[in-house]
């Protein structure tokens, strides 16, 4: 169900952009209005949701970690998996964000004969998602050549490395291959593993299909049908400098590509894609486990009238001594 719905949604978006440009001449809408609107929605939406998250206090440490916490000096503690210092937390966050460490721990549960439960080694999801995110990043950074003038050195450097094997002209980018392979794997995984398929919703299929189609249109544009990239850069630089222009003779496929990207950005704040800013705010990852060192106070505690033991003893000392109970102060 979710698959058909998402497929229809993406196909509709492609057709809308294609028909709008081809038959109705809506270049201005798909090339300027939609990208600006999507960017506005993206930034306000993401900031709004992050601030919404920030409204929840997280006063206490949540040491759901896989390492020994710091306690007595002769018990060996794990400074990275259960950090008690800021540096340890930065290390843990860096590994999480750059290498998806918690996904690396993924295992697969299997029932063997017996019946007996076994946890299988399962690194493919980690590998594919790492490949996916890094190839996406490379494609994204390479796209800066459309949005900067002069083009920064690292964009050109990345291009050179990415087209290392100099296959064909225009040279084949390795990140394009990696990108399509990884998205395809992530999609196939969702539909062939029964348990994963069972829990997959349109909200899971739609972004995958959208991203696949963005990559596919880009790749077709570059290697197959060809577009006038010079005019496209005039358009994109017009967007960046806030003097939008629509040069003549840009193929429809470009507008389909950009419209799908606009949809992706507009959809971002309302979707699971928010895991990107969200990873920075993971309470189980971004707090040092220093509960034994620092006293953490819950900010929504209201003042409670307390009666400490010292006060209690002051109150009842005479009676306690009379009854033969031990007291701390005579």
């Amino acid at each position: 169900m979710g698959i058909n719905f998402s497929l229809m949604a993406v196909l509709t978006l492609v057709l809308v952009a294609f028909a709008g440009v081809k038959f109705m001449g809506l270049q201005m809408f798909f090339g300027v209005v939609a990208p600006y609107a999507a960017m506005a929605l993206f930034f306000t939406g993401v900031i709004w949701r992050v601030l919404k998250w920030a409204e929840s206090p997280v006063p206490f440490r949540i040491p759901t970690t896989a390492g020994q916490q710091k306690s007595l000096p002769w018990i060996k503690s794990n400074g990275l998996d259960n950090p008690s210092t800021k540096a340890g937390v930065i290390g843990r966050m860096a590994l999480e964000i750059l290498l998806f460490r918690s996904l690396f721990r993924n295992t697969k549960l299997e029932y063997r004969e017996g019946p007996r439960i076994a946890y299988e080694w399962e690194k493919w999801l980690w590998l594919a998602s790492l490949l996916f995110h890094y190839s996406f990043l490379v494609v994204f950074v390479r796209h800066l050549r459309f949005f900067t003038e002069p083009i920064p050195f690292f964009v050109q450097g990345l291009e050179t490395v990415d087209s290392l094997f100099q296959v064909g002209l225009p040279t084949l980018y390795l990140s394009d291959l990696a990108f399509i392979a990884a998205v395809t794997y992530l999609f196939i995984r969702r539909i062939i593993i029964p348990q994963v398929k069972y829990i997959s919703l349109p909200a899971d299929y739609f972004p995958l299909m959208l991203i696949f189609t963005i990559g596919a249109t880009g790749i077709i544009m570059r290697y197959v049908t060809k577009v006038d990239v010079i005019s496209i850069k005039q358009l994109t630089m017009g967007l960046v400098t806030f003097h939008p222009v629509i040069p003549q003779g840009i193929g429809e496929l470009f507008f389909v590509h950009v419209f799908l990207v606009s949809i992706l950005f507009a959809y971002f704040p309302f979707s699971k894609l928010m895991h990107a800013p969200g990873v920075f705010l993971s309470p189980t990852r971004n707090m040092p486990n220093d509960s034994r060192i620092v006293r953490h106070v819950n900010p929504w505690n209201y003042p409670v009238p307390v009666h400490t033991y010292a006060e209690y003893e002051d109150h009842f000392r005479d009676k306690m001594i009379e009854a033969g109970l031990p007291v701390e102060k005579e």
């Binding site: 050179t160 002209l169 010079i230």
Partner: protein, 133 residues
Amino acid sequence: MKIYNGDKIIPGILIGVIILTFPLWLARGKAAATPDIKFDTPVIQKLAVKQCVLPKETMRTSHMVVLNDWRDAAVRNNTRVFTGMDGKKYDINLQNTCMECHSNKTHFCDQCHNYLGVNPYCWKCHIEPKETK
């Protein structure tokens, strides 16, 4: 609304926004120079019909495909003649065909390529036309 850990979250948001809008800061609203390609080379000026080997629109988007086909034709199949538009015949040769007409490489090929950060590696082996400045 009350924000917790604002000392970390607000700078985080700011850094994210600044990085993602980096092209805007680089451009600061100034219009960028567009490539200025010239067709005023001696060979082109002598042409009766000023045209390329294929229609202009095709060349604009697909000249690298043409070059790739030329390279394959010459190096792999030893085909040295290309029949272009209107049945006109051209020698398959980067240096002596393309660059004879487009001998103003810095005011032609490089104009577009620098604009888009394309850096064809061809000139490591093939010789660029000598240009009089």
